[in-house]
Every structure is written in structure tokens, then in C-alpha cells.
């Protein structure tokens, strides 16, 4: 089948490159009337193919700015960003689904903009909805879906871009705790099934530890990489696991230290 062939080819492509994203010495400053402000300072970070990395930091660390740079929505002031797999997919804190389209048509629009032929769009959209367990929701309007369902459709739409790299900007921050917990499980499942690389931004330490293979802590104003942890706890994890809690305590301590520095001058 054609899909198997493309999958095999994508597999080869992934084997050929050593990174899904390479961020090299990236700085970003925003000009203002009072002079320019440095938001990101000399960030270097690689995301390996199939790796799940969370960027963790307090407000003002420029984590969303960094994600926008990787997504190509903005340009770095210095340094370079490479995404060999093409334009990355991006998920926002708000679902950002288009209310004039049904759930299914939102996904089909992504497919259409990617150049998928008309006849293949509907079955592909149905398949992606199945993947996020919303099989019966093709005709649903955005306002008929709950918050968690909307984010799952948004995830399906991001997956429809068929990018190797998925960027997520605090996508579960606005959800209630129970729904967020379920979506963590879903995201882990889908990440393992699709072998995507994920760069996930959050300010929630437990969420970062629950999801990631690697947690990168950013300091604030300007954002610099403060420390990195490789998470060895086997997946599937749960947010209440003792190992997750233990590591979260350590990282939180570090994060608090970073924040405290700002009160000292």
C-alpha cells in the first residue's frame, strides 16, 4: 500500500538525519521604545528523531518565543534553527480550531494545505480522528465539543501536517486536572505509536516529568538553558508515580532557585 511505502520512506529519512530540530546559539531580542530587550540568550538544543523534550520555565523565560522561532512564525536575532523534516506542526494553549468548519473539515483543511488529493482527505481525516479516539465526531462543530475533545481534534489536525516534529505550547494548561491527566496518557500513546519528535513547553514541573524523556529548564529574563535532566522512568508513567514526584521535587527546587535570583536585585 502507498501509505506503507511512504511510512517506510519516512522511516529511512528519519534514520538519515541525527536531529528533528537543531537550535544553535539562538538569541532573540525585541525592540521597544526603551531599547531592545533580550528574551533568549544563546540557546543551543537538539531534539533527536523520536525524542520527547519538554522546555520548562517560569513566566518570562521566553519558552513560547523559542517555540515560535522553531515553528518559523518569527526569526531569531542571532543563531540558526534547522528543522530537516520541513515545517513543524504547532499546537497552542487555545485549540485554535476554525469554528466555521466541522471537526473533520478542520483536519481536512490541514491535509488540503499540505497538498493531499481530495479523494484521500476524508478517509485520512477519519483515521486521524480514530487515532485521538473521536471516531464519531467528524461532523461535530467546534462548539459542540468539550475542552478536552477540542484539544484532541487540534492534535489530530497537527498530526495531519505529517511533520516529523510536533511543537506544543502549553496545550493542556487550560484543561481541568482529570482531563489533562487523560490527555497525558493519550499524548504518550500517540507519541509512541507515531514515533514523532515532540518539543513541549510547559510551566508545570510534574507535567514535564510525566511526559518527557528529557526536561530542559530555562532561566528567566533572559531565557538561558539552566539545566537538563534525562528522565529514565519507563513509560507509561502516571503523574502520581513516586519516581515522578521525587524528580519533580528536585526540579521544582531548581526552578524556585532560578525565580529567587530575580528578587535579589
Amino acid at each position: 500500500m502507498a501509505t506503507t511505502a511512504t511510512l517506510a520512506k519516512a522511516e529511512e529519512d528519519r534514520a538519515a538525519v541525527t536531529h528533528a530540530a537543531r537550535i544553535e546559539h539562538v538569541s532573540k531580542s525585541f525592540g521597544g521604545p526603551a531599547g531592545s530587550q533580550l528574551v533568549l540568550d544563546d540557546i543551543s538544543l537538539d531534539v533527536a528523531p523520536g525524542e520527547f523534550v519538554t522546555l520548562l520555565g517560569a513566566s518570562g523565560c521566553g519558552k513560547s518565543t523559542l517555540l515560535n522561532l522553531v515553528a518559523g512564525l518569527d526569526r531569531p536575532s542571532a543563531g540558526s534553527i534547522e528543522t530537516p523534516g520541513g515545517r513543524p506542526a504547532l499546537m497552542f494553549q487555545e485549540h485554535a480550531l476554525f469554528p466555521w468548519l466541522t471537526a473533520g473539515k478542520n483536519i481536512e483543511l490541514a491535509l488540503r494545505l499540505r497538498g493531499v488529493p481530495k479523494a484521500e482527505r476524508r478517509p485520512e481525516a477519519e483515521r486521524l480522528l480514530e487515532l485521538v479516539r473521536l471516531g464519531g465526531s467528524y461532523r461535530k462543530r467546534v462548539h459542540e465539543l468539550s475542552g478536552g475533545m477540542r484539544q484532541r481534534v487540534a492534535l489530530a489536525r497537527a498530526l495531519a501536517q505529517d511533520s516529523d516534529l510536533l511543537l506544543m505550547d502549553e496545550p493542556f494548561a487550560a484543561l481541568d486536572a482529570i482531563t489533562r491527566d487523560v490527555l497525558h496518557d493519550e499524548l504518550t500513546r500517540i507519541w509512541r505509536e507515531t514515533k514523532l519528535s515532540v518539543l513541549f513547553v510547559t510551566h508545570n514541573v510534574r507535567e514535564a516529568v510525566r511526559l518527557a524523556e528529557r526536561v530542559v529548564l530555562l532561566s528567566s529574563r533572559p531565557g538561558r538553558i539552566a539545566r537538563e535532566w534525562t528522565i529514565g522512568i519507563p513509560q507509561p508513567r502516571r503523574i502520581e508515580d513516586a519516581a515522578v514526584a521525587e524528580l519533580s521535587v528536585e526540579i521544582t527546587e531548581e526552578l524556585r532557585g532560578e525565580i529567587r535570583r530575580h528578587g535579589q536585585h
Binding site: 513543524p88 476554525f98 483543511l109 468539550s146 478536552g148 493519550e186
Partner: protein, 298 residues
């Protein structure tokens, strides 16, 4: 690699998760309910009908109390008589059609001009700076002001009527579209760009559909302006060659001191304006808003 044991447990976990998720979805799903016909009649039809009946009753009471001369305030029955006379003479539908067809044709022309104009103003900064303020200023200029120059430039004919309609309606339609485009949430534009909708594709797939509610509001207002402009033109510029429209009917009533005729003309002008809005624009607007979940049920 994972052993068989882990696979079975993770499969079991996946089933758990699916069940949990189905439960959450069922609990969170937004219930959408269609309003029953009875409720629509009670809540939407009854109040305006009551109001109209009340106006008729007060009107009749004022006539009965003889607050003023009968030629100044005719009883409702006299207006009804004028209406049935026109109906029996067969002129009623002609008069209505003359005005309605003019207004609708003028509106369609305004639509064809106002839409591209609005897009230009919304998307091209130079054009916006150049004519944006004039365009919004024109909305507050009563279109009756255009009748005098239009008659001198074009003459007493249908083209003059259309010119007045265009000058009244085009700014409304263009402004509605500009407002609609301005109000497109930046998040939609960013989401569109990450999906690859940039330039013309972005305009077609994201900006235009997102701006539709504002555009429709502009069309609605554009219709009201078309109708008002046309009435102004018909009242001021009456001539036998122009055919009898509602505006001329009103003007004829004044010339003949025929108060029931004047009342009838005013009521018909009002009714046509309301009817077109209720039959065309309101359903269109409601359909768009409802499909986006923007119609809040009280």
C-alpha cells in the same frame, strides 16, 4: 524491546483509557437542543404581535377621542380602505415591485462594488490610510444629500436612483467587511500560517470565512441604507416617467392631502424594510452564527 507481558498490560491500560475518555466525553459534551415550534411562537411571535395590536388600539382610541382633525389623523379603517382600493385597482403589487426591484438591484450592485472595495481597504495599508476615514464618514452622511447632485448629473431616471442607492449602501458594505477582517482573532492567522495558509490561500481559507459574521452585519446595514436611500430619491425626484414607487406614493399623498394614503405609504415602506430583513438577512446571519456556536440562547 518490551516483553509480551508489558504489551498485554499496556493493551489493558489502553482499554481503560478509552473507557475513561469515552466517559469524560459523554459528561463534558455540550448538549445542543432545537427549540420546539410552540416555544418559538410563544417567545418570538407573540410579543411583536401584541405590540402591533396595542399600537392599533391606541391609534383607534386617539381617533375616537377626536384629539385632532380627522384629515390629520385618519382612523385605521381609512388606511385599510386605501389599501384595499389599491389592491382592487391592481396597482398595489406594481407599486411595491417598482420600489423593491429597484432597491434589490441597487443593493446587488452595491454588493459587487462594496465587497472588493472593503477587501482592498482591509488588506492594503495605503488604501486604508487614503480612503478608510472617508468611507466611515460617508456612513453618517444622509443619502438624501446625494439626490440633488445625482439629479443634476444624471437626470430624472432610474440610473439616478441606482447612483443614490450605491452612494448610501457601498460604504456600509465595505465598512462591514473591514470590521470583519479587523476582528479576525490573531490566533486563527497564526494557526493558519503553521498549517501553510499564507498569502492568497490564507485570505481564502482563513481570513474570509473568519470575517463572514462582520461582513453579514455590513450587508444587513447595507440593505437598510439601500432602502432608505431609494425612498429619499423617490420622494424628492418624482416624475411621471419614473413609474410609481412607494416614495412617489407618499409624495402623491402629500400633494393630494390624502392622509390615509400617506399613512399607507409609510406603513408599506416600513413593512418592506422589515420583511426583506426578516426573510433574507436575519436567517442568513443566524445560520452563520449558530453554526459557529455564537448564538447564545437566552
Amino acid at each position: 524491546m518490551a516483553s509480551t507481558d508489558t504489551t498485554t498490560t499496556s493493551a489493558g491500560k489502553a482499554d481503560d483509557l478509552a473507557g475513561l475518555e469515552a466517559g469524560l466525553d459523554a459528561l463534558d459534551a455540550v448538549q445542543v437542543r432545537r427549540t420546539p415550534v410552540r416555544e418559538v411562537l410563544l417567545k418570538k411571535v407573540l410579543p411583536p404581535v401584541t405590540a402591533v395590536l396595542l399600537v392599533l388600539v391606541v391609534w383607534q382610541l386617539l381617533v375616537t377621542a377626536q384629539v385632532t382633525d380627522e384629515f390629520k389623523l385618519p382612523p385605521p379603517s381609512a388606511v385599510w380602505d386605501s389599501l384595499s382600493t389599491m389592491w382592487l385597482e391592481g396597482t398595489l403589487l406594481d407599486v411595491l415591485w417598482t420600489s423593491v426591484s429597484r432597491a434589490l438591484l441597487g443593493f446587488l450592485m452595491a454588493l459587487a462594488i462594496g465587497t472588493p472595495l472593503g477587501l482592498l481597504v482591509a488588506r492594503v495599508k495605503f488604501v486604508r490610510a487614503a480612503i478608510g476615514p472617508i468611507l466611515s464618514g460617508l456612513q453618517s452622511l444622509p443619502s438624501v444629500a446625494w439626490v440633488a447632485p445625482a439629479v443634476l448629473w444624471i437626470g430624472l431616471n432610474d440610473q439616478m436612483m441606482y447612483a443614490v442607492i450605491l452612494l448610501g449602501a457601498v460604504p456600509s458594505i465595505a465598512n462591514g467587511l473591514v470590521a470583519g477582517v479587523d476582528q479576525v482573532p490573531p490566533l486563527f492567522l497564526r494557526a493558519g500560517r503553521t498549517l501553510g495558509a499564507t498569502g492568497l490561500r490564507g485570505a481564502w481559507h482563513i481570513v474570509m470565512p473568519a470575517a463572514l459574521p462582520g461582513y453579514l452585519a455590513g450587508l444587513k446595514q447595507g440593505w437598510a441604507f439601500s432602502w432608505r436611500s431609494l425612498m429619499a430619491a423617490e420622494i424628492i425626484a418624482s416624475s411621471p416617467e419614473l413609474g410609481l414607487g412607494l416614495g412617489q406614493l407618499l409624495e402623491n399623498g402629500r400633494n393630494n392631502i390624502d392622509m390615509p394614503g400617506i399613512f399607507l405609504a409609510i406603513i408599506l415602506i416600513l413593512l418592506v424594510g422589515i420583511a426583506i430583513d426578516l426573510l433574507i438577512f436575519s436567517p442568513l446571519e443566524r445560520a452563520v452564527l449558530r453554526s459557529r456556536g455564537l448564538l447564545v440562547k437566552s
